[in-house]
Amino acid sequence: MPIAGVVVVTLPEKTSEVLQALKRLSQVTTYGVHKDNNIIAVLESESTSGLERLSNRISRSIEGVIGVFPAYINFEDEVPDQEPYPPVE
């Protein structure tokens, strides 16, 4: 189950509204506002595609969000085993 640690950068005057909006999202855990307009958050989803949708939703649907910047992504459950490679015939 992929996890991403992100910084949500907001317009300064909208930071608290963005924080409240993020808190309403069940797949988002917030870790406070830092350095004026940076919200630390962890996004969780069943798949990286869900993470990506969530990230898009935050950056495009919540007014005042300037960008969602990942700093760490863990996806170890999703990495496939490399298929064995057949020899040249």
Binding site: G5, V9, K35, N38, S49, E52, P70, I73, F75, V88
Partner: protein, 756 residues
């Protein structure tokens, strides 16, 4: 996954994000973070030219995590959304895993020996029968410097043809022409460090928010801390970058030269010019290269008053005046631009006019001031511009036309100097035209997709179909693999070591952390093997490691303006890159060129530096040039038959021809298809509703595509992202190119649009 571990990962993720902005979220936990079975290696992102540092997390033999490199001064721990998916690109199902030869119209798997023997035999036959210029190489700003270096030596030094090009011709060549003609040498004088010192940002022809998100983040962060910082945009289209703009000028596509001239006009008229700087650092030249006086230049600008520029460009005179005053009044200013300026038939001139603003106001050579071209690919600067991977260049910013340069390179390559031809080879468009004409009969294409990325792409499919095409690629299929005769599987990012050089003159080392997929091999070794099979064993067998190649390359940069001789692998493995010139192993790298702290400036005799804070040592008298270039229109202006200006570009989720990003299901689904943006006013007039299927047509082709009715483009302008083979925007673009840089005009084509 046990809850305990999940909580641990969440804490790790939050702490990493916090650390990226300098916050210690969980005191005392630092040392435990990521301390489990994941091992980390520092590397560089594979996508754009920003050069973000990433840490690759490996568990066993798999990449399981990516994080931004906190110690990297460029991105300071952050990465953009494409970073979510870097691992998925490595493991994409579309990876090309083994060599293939096309027989009877179908690819058949073969051994490496068979594939390379076949290519060597065919290339040698062509060389013997039709001469070396019947062969060509087409490379990439995504290839490592070591890879391009090997290709350069094989084609220019051994085969003996200068028909060696790369896709940076399609994106950066006009920026090169601009730097050379305005400042005397290629690549920016400043670095990203200027961002945090700038009072004003002029963003021209750049959707920074989507195409260079980390640079955008740094700008936004700086503006947030310093609310008086201003952002001025010149672009025919509204983009997410507008969220933070103070003013946006919307010129008609291709008509912005008049706007830049008019800004210069206002700057001088209203007393914002730095007359001392001009006197000591600047020459003025007319378009034909003749020296003119400052007064004659001002007379030239009389044709570009704000009112006259409004008539030409459509930008209100009042907005031009406001923008010019903002630029003039700011103590420091940083301009950034990319394809909207470069991909034009007057791209070099447009670059010159941006440099003009900085030279007229002295906003260069001090912290926070620089005309700074943004790069689209991760190693266009390092491998191709510095490495000499174009038809007129040799490694180390050298030129094939210079006999001394040919001698220096031939000596290091260990080839007779006569092997290197004194005339430039064919530039990209000429090269693919020569394939069409049968003058080039064999081409080696590495790490790029010209069948999709060339302008007026379908025009060049004939040559690709008829001639012998070898494609070294990490992915299959691509638009170009359809035309290939031989496919060679290339190792991908993280499966090979090497160096990338990014926008800010910084060269960074990338380690190999994985074995290549399937039978893929490093491009440099494929070229070495091919060269030896072609009969150049003596010239190529000496390279045993990537470091061997790098060491030879940096020896060729010694004493050159882009001196990397102090940037050894040993240093690069430890440091987060080095910014050239780096003339010795103890030199820290250079923040600003042409001024104090630049080793070339510092070594100048005192009499040359007298009264000057900058010396543009690529120019004979050390003075930069303000150019009086006429404001020429695009090659294909709109008319009554084709009344819309079509422009093309990128979206955040995809990159270039989509070979990597479309292989990632999540990104493919996020933006699954191409579309054409049309302004609501135009849509109403034409009876087009959102999501209607429409036809966009130019004089070269037509495309059936979904309409997106949105106010991003101005009325009269259409926009199509170009990432899809199925909705190939380059069926519509024009292959007219800048006569100086030879870069095509992707950004402006006359079009019409109607409901399908």
């Amino acid at each position: 996954m046990p809850l305990k571990r999940r909580e641990f990962l969440k804490a790790s993720a939050a702490a990493a994000a916090a650390a990226s902005i300098g916050v210690n979220l969980i005191p005392g936990m630092d040392n435990k973070l990521f301390a489990d079975a994941v091992s980390w290696e520092k590397s560089v992102c594979r996508f754009c030219g920003t050069g973000c540092g990433v840490m690759i997390g490996k568990k066993g033999d798999k990449v399981v995590a990516i994080k931004g490199d906190l110690k990297n001064p460029i991105n300071k721990g952050h990465i953009c959304v494409k970073g979510f998916f870097l691992h998925k690109v490595i493991y994409a199902k579309t990876r090309l895993l083994y060599p293939m030869i096309k027989r009877n119209g179908k690819f058949e798997r073969v051994s490496w020996d068979e594939a390379l023997d076949y290519v060597a035999r065919r290339f040698n036959e062509i060389r013997k029968t039709d001469g070396p210029d019947a062969l060509a190489f087409y490379g990439s700003g995504q290839a490592e410097t070591e890879e391009t270096y090997m290709a350069n030596k094989l084609f220019k030094g051994c085969i003996g043809t200068n028909n060696m090009e790369g896709n940076p011709r399609l994106c950066m060549a006009s920026a090169v022409g601009g730097y050379l003609s305005s400042l005397g040498l290629d690549e920016p004088a400043g670095t990203y460090q200027d961002i945090e010192h700038a009072e004003l940002f002029l963003l021209v022809g750049s959707n920074t928010a989507e195409c260079h998100p980390i640079i955008f983040e740094r700008i936004v962060r700086h503006k947030t801390k310093n609310p008086t910082v201003k952002i001025l945009i010149i672009d025919p289209r509204k983009t997410p970058t507008d969220q933070v703009a103070d003013i946006h000028l919307f010129p008609k596509p291709g008509w912005d030269l008049a706007v830049l001239h008019a800004m210069a006009h206002v700057i001088i008229k209203e007393g914002y010019a730095d007359l001392d700087f001009i006197k000591n650092h600047v020459n003025f030249k007319s378009n034909d290269g003749k020296d003119i006086t400052f007064e004659a230049y001002q007379q030239f600008l009389e044709d570009y008053t704000p009112e006259k520029a409004e008539a030409i460009s459509g930008v209100p005179a009042g907005d031009i005046i406001k923008a010019a005053r903002m630029f003039g009044q700011a103590k420091t200013a940083m301009s950034m631009w990319t394809m909207g300026i470069n991909q034009r038939t007057r791209g070099v001139w447009a670059n010159n006019l941006i440099h003009n603003l900085h030279l007229l106001t002295g906003k260069i050579g001090v912290p926070g001031s620089d005309p700074f071209s943004l790069t689209g690919q991760p190693n266009a600067c390092g491998g191709v511009r510095e490495g000499g991977g174009l038809c007129h260049l040799l490694p180390g910013h050298r030129k094939v036309t210079n006999p001394k340069h040919r001698e220096e390179v031939a000596k290091v390559w260990g080839v007779p100097v006569g092997n290197i031809q004194p005339k430039p080879g064919k530039h990209t468009i000429a090269m693919f035209e020569a394939l069409n004409e049968g003058k080039i009969k064999g081409i080696y294409i590495m790490c790029t997709n010209p069948a999709q990325s060339l302008p007026y792409a379908q025009k060049f499919w004939k040559g690709l179909k008829e001639q012998f095409v070898v494609l070294a690629e990490s992915f299959y299929p691509t638009a170009t693999s359809d035309f290939a005769d031989v496919l060679l599987p290339a190792a991908f990012w993280a499966e090979k070591e090497g160096v990338y050089g990014c926008t800010e003159r910084r060269s960074q080392y990338m380690p190999q952390v994985l074995q290549p997929m399937g039978e893929a091999r490093w491009d440099a070794w494929i070229l070495r093997d091919l060269a030896m099979r072609m009969g150049f064993k003596k010239e190529f067998e000496k390279y045993r490691t990537a470091e061997d190649i790098w060491n030879e390359y940096i020896s060729l940069t010694k004493g050159r303006d882009m001196d990397l001789s102090g940037a050894t692998y040993a240093r690069l493995k430890k440091e987060r890159g080095l910014v050239w010139p780096v003339p010795s192993e103890t030199h820290p790298g250079t923040y600003k060129r042409y001024t104090q702290g630049d080793p070339f400036f510092d070594e100048l005799p005192e009499e040359k530096k007298k009264g000057r804070r900058m010396y543009f040592y690529g120019k004979p008298d050390g003075k930069a040039v303000v150019w009086a270039r006429p404001a020429k229109p695009p090659a294909e202006p709109t008319d009554k038959d084709f009344p819309y200006a079509l422009t093309t570009g990128r979206v955040l989720e995809h990159w270039h021809t989509g070979t990597m990003t479309r292989a990632v299901l999540e990104l493919a689904r996020a933006v699954p298809r191409a579309y054409v943006e049309i302004h609501p006013q135009d849509a109403r007039k034409l009876g087009i509703a959102n999501r209607d299927t429409v036809v966009v047509e130019t004089r070269r082709g037509k495309l059936e595509i979904e309409a997106r009715v949105i106010d991003r483009p101005e009325p009269g302008t259409l926009f199509i992202p170009w990432h899809w083979k199925e909705w190939l925007a380059n069926l519509l673009t024009i292959d007219a190119f800048d006569p100086g840089s030879k870069e095509p005009e992707y950004k402006v084509a006359a079009a019409r649009i109607y409901k399908a």
